[in-house]
């Protein structure tokens, strides 16, 4: 210990007890959420777990005298980025689950060993870079936001401008990628109507039947019954079918009529 003290120009500082308690509660939860994020099967669950990791990191930022970054973390990451992820997940289809086939032989084992070695190396390198604990009390005297703004508009103003150019480029790029050129003329209402009633048409002439019109169950996961008594699969949403959430109509049929009910009614 004396050797370390002699080697370091600063005396090693420690964080306060409340912060230690905060860390030891939240850090294992963050690691747990991150590990389960890469192992859960459904992408939506991954997104929620990642949102939790990001909120944990935001709390850490605030605990580490970076309140501005903590708030930005919540607003930008859990607010905007994760919502964008969920939006794209819903657009691409929540049913597009991961294939668990290994395309490269032994990839999983190799990845695990490689990542473990990398983690050990990183912890060994970064964990020893501790040279002293200066703290941000002096730097934050005028306020964290003011201190950041001062740096951002003086020393880092060139990086700031470049990053703004990057943002505009990214917005333009997203628009270019998202744009789809129409290869044929947009069909008019009249053409669509003619198409619907042509024999052999895939589009129905009448609207599709509504799902779930039972007295015993009225949710959208049960197909409607046609007049001849058979369930109509076209009445249930395609997404529910892909997820396997469609219930059988048989379970909701009423076989007995209650006493005192007049049949002629």
């Amino acid at each position: 210990m004396n050797l370390i003290l002699a080697a370091n120009p600063f005396t090693p500082g420690q964080t306060g007890t409340p912060e230690a308690v905060l860390f030891w509660i939240l850090a294992p939860l963050a690691v747990l959420a991150a590990v389960s994020m890469i192992f859960v099967k459904k992408a939506v669950h991954s997104a929620l777990l990642l949102a939790w990791v990001m909120i944990t990191l935001a709390i850490f930022y605030i605990a580490e005298d970076a309140p501005f970054l903590g708030i930005v973390q919540i607003v930008v990451y859990t607010g905007a980025v994760m919502m964008l992820f969920l939006f794209i997940l819903m657009l691409v289809g929540v049913d597009s689950s991961d294939s668990l086939v290994e395309t490269i032989k032994g990839q999983r084992v190799m990845a695990m060993i490689g990542a473990l070695g990398f983690a050990v190396l990183l912890i060994g390198a970064i964990g020893r870079s501790y040279t002293g604990f200066a703290g941000l009390t002096a730097a934050n005297t005028d306020g964290n936001v003011e201190g950041l703004a001062q740096l951002l508009f003086t020393r880092y103003v060139w990086a700031f401008e470049v990053v703004s150019a990057l943002l505009i480029t990214a917005a333009l790029g997203a628009m270019v990628l998202g744009h789809r050129e129409r290869s044929s003329e947009r069909p008019t209402q009249r053409e669509l109507s003619i198409l619907r009633f042509r024999p052999g048409s895939k589009l129905p002439g009448a609207p599709l039947p509504n799902p779930g019109v039972y007295a015993l169950h009225n949710a959208v996961d049960v197909p409607a019954l046609l007049p001849d008594g058979t369930p109509d699969p076209s009445s249930v949403s395609r997404v529910l079918k892909a997820r396997g959430d469609v219930l059988d109509t048989k379970a909701f049929e009423m076989h007995t009529i209650e006493e005192g009910e007049d049949e002629s009614k």
Binding site: Q14, A30, V81, A170
Partner: protein
């Protein structure tokens, strides 16, 4: 508690993200793992800013957030474009250059 623990946590999260990028086949989940790695790097920046007693690390973390936002916008647009033409978000299906 030593502030080093934050650095160890950031290294752990970064490695977990790296495993995810290599192991998962769904392009959106791969992307989420990249986000996790960027966030882990940010945690290291913020901790170093505190250890060294100046705000430069926080400014760099702020720039990382902006770049990450750009990356998400363009990356998700690419995923949607690939999904539109190939009806799949799996990274194994986009292998036209292989043959």
């Amino acid at each position: 508690m030593s502030p080093n623990n934050y650095l160890v946590l950031s290294a752990l999260l970064f490695s977990i993200g790296a495993i995810g990028v290599v192991l998962r086949r769904n392009a959106i989940v791969v992307f989420m793992c990249v986000e996790l790695m960027l966030n882990a790097a940010n945690l290291a920046f913020v901790t170093f800013a505190r250890l060294l007693g100046n705000l430069d690390g926080q400014v760099v973390a702020f720039f990382t957030m902006v770049v990450a936002a750009c990356e998400v916008v363009v990356g998700l647009a690419i995923i949607v474009t690939i999904f539109r033409s190939r009806r799949s978000a799996s990274v194994d299906d986009a292998n036209l250059l292989k043959y």
